[in-house]
């Protein structure tokens, strides 16, 4: 039986009179990778921020980890969610390892990855003394992903993780994301580079003007990983 890790029910998000999301419904299964596509302003980032609990929907409901018997408000389950934004979400003045040590100490008592391990896993040298503000854009993206990995989140929300990355680094990140799938973590990622991320995707969700216009099976599912549960979940996206 597949478990639903996150669920949006008729979610709308309004900024004044502008609707960033319009009645988005989706059920996300554990261990799947969802690719969210759409033009600038389509609502991709708003959807991710809503799932992360950083935004409250104006209408509708968002539940995370509900399949485990306790439907949770994302605001209360944030520590189990990893969110990577366009910005680094790191202090420019600290080196990568200093930033990660700081964040790791905010997850005390949890089973965290060590800052050094997290940096190595994204291909960064933990010994690098340079402050993050002096990193190249690609290094910043990787350091940002390392921050997300610190708390071993079950749900990874990655907003444009490949932007400003060279192709080699992007493929390295893709390989890393693939290892998360084998650990039954759920990945939701937005990108403008469809061809790059698509091979990893179980489902491709396309947003337009804040509404879901299509949900297709991704190549990963077509290769044989699709289950009946996934089909039902896919069918529930309106």
């Amino acid at each position: 039986m597949t478990s639903i890790i996150a669920e949006c029910e008729e979610v709308s998000k309004l900024y004044g009179t502008f609707a960033a999301l319009r009645k988005v419904s989706a059920r996300l299964e554990r261990g799947r990778c969802y690719l969210v596509l759409g033009e600038n302003g389509a609502g991709k980032s708003t959807l991710l921020r809503t799932l992360a609990g950083l935004l409250r929907p104006s209408y509708g409901k968002v539940r995370v980890f509900g399949a485990e018997g306790q439907a949770e408000d994302p605001m209360e389950a944030r520590e189990r969610i990893g969110y990577m934004s366009h910005a680094t979400m790191l202090y420019d003045e600290f080196s990568g390892v200093e930033n990660l040590r700081y964040f790791a100490s905010l997850y005390r008592g949890r089973d965290c990855v060590t800052p050094e391990e997290a940096l190595r896993s994204v291909g960064l040298d933990p010994e690098l003394p340079r402050p993050v503000g002096q990193y190249s854009q690609g290094m910043k993206q990787r350091a940002s992903l390392a921050r997300v990995l610190i708390s071993r989140p079950e749900l990874l929300l990655l907003d444009e993780p490949f932007s400003n990355m060279d192709i080699g680094s992007a493929h390295q990140m893709l390989r890393l994301l693939e290892t998360f799938r084998t650990e039954h973590r759920t990945i939701v990622l937005t990108t403008h580079q469809r061809e790059l991320a698509e091979p990893l995707a179980d489902f491709v969700l396309t947003l337009q003007a804040g509404a879901v216009v299509s949900l297709e099976e991704g190549p990963y599912t077509k290769r044989g990983a699709l289950t009946l549960g996934a089909t039902e979940a896919a069918g529930s996206v309106r």
Binding site: A52, G53, L54, L55, R56, M75, R78, E79, I81, G82, Y83, S85, A87, T88, M89, L90, Y91, D92, E93, F94, E98, Y102, F103, S105, L106, Y107, R108, G109, R110, R147, S151
Partner: protein, 223 residues
């Protein structure tokens, strides 16, 4: 466990300031300038100095502190670090207390440097219990900083936050400013009851620290 989070935030803010020295440098130069300019503008006698010195010191510290408080959350805003902090299980109150104590220490450093310059320029000699100043300055500074950090967080999502902060902060700070000035003047002139004003400052600090800590979570998670 919770005090551990607070220490983590405090350590981080102290480390960041140690590397950049942005807040301390800007506050120090501003406060020194105010003190020197006032002494040149009024050229007060020793007796007049005792009457006005408390007020000048408080106002100089207040304006200097606002320049730092305006930047109190700037580093958290720059790369959306605040969102990353919102995602962690660390209590909001620990973030607030860490930031408040760090800024309090920065302002205290400025006051410690400023004090001898102040005594020299205004030719001061306290007629009351000078040691009471050791209570007045930290209590008054805490009142300013605790409110300043809170209202700086409240105004970070507004467009004119540099203007908004003093507009909200100064009226709220008036009772503490009054307590600070009156007690400092009472100590310097030897007239009046400084202890009463110090008690009022203490009560103000307890009330506002509690209220700010309780409300900070709402401010932090506001959209």
């Amino acid at each position: 466990m919770r005090s551990g989070y607070f220490v983590t935030h405090l350590k981080k803010d102290l480390q960041l300031e140690w590397r950049s020295k942005d807040a301390i440098n800007s506050m120090l130069f501003f406060a020194l300038l105010v003190v020197v300019l006032f002494s040149l503008a009024f050229d007060p006698t020793r007796a007049v100095s005792r009457q006005i010195a408390g007020g000048i010191l408080c106002v100089a510290t207040m304006f200097a502190a606002v320049s730092a408080l305006n930047q109190a959350w700037a580093r958290e805003l720059r790369n959306q670090v605040l969102d990353a902090l919102r995602m962690t299980p660390a209590p909001a109150a620990s973030l607030f207390l860490g930031k408040t104590l760090a800024n309090f220490l920065f302002v205290m450093v400025v006051e410690v440097v400023l004090a001898p310059v102040f005594v020299m320029f205004y030719n001061l000699h306290a007629l009351g219990n000078a040691w009471l100043l050791v209570l007045v300055l930290p209590l008054g500074t805490w009142a300013l900083i605790v409110n300043g950090v809170f209202f700086a967080a409240l105004s970070i999502r507004t467009r004119n936050r540099e203007l908004l902060l003093p507009l909200i902060l100064f009226p709220i700070f008036i009772p503490a400013l009054l307590g600070m000035v009156m007690s400092a003047t009472a100590i310097l002139t030897g007239e009046g009851d400084a202890v009463l004003w110090i008690k009022m400052l203490g009560a103000y600090d307890v009330i506002f620290t509690t209220v700010c800590m309780m409300l900070f979570e709402v401010i932090l998670h506001a959209e």
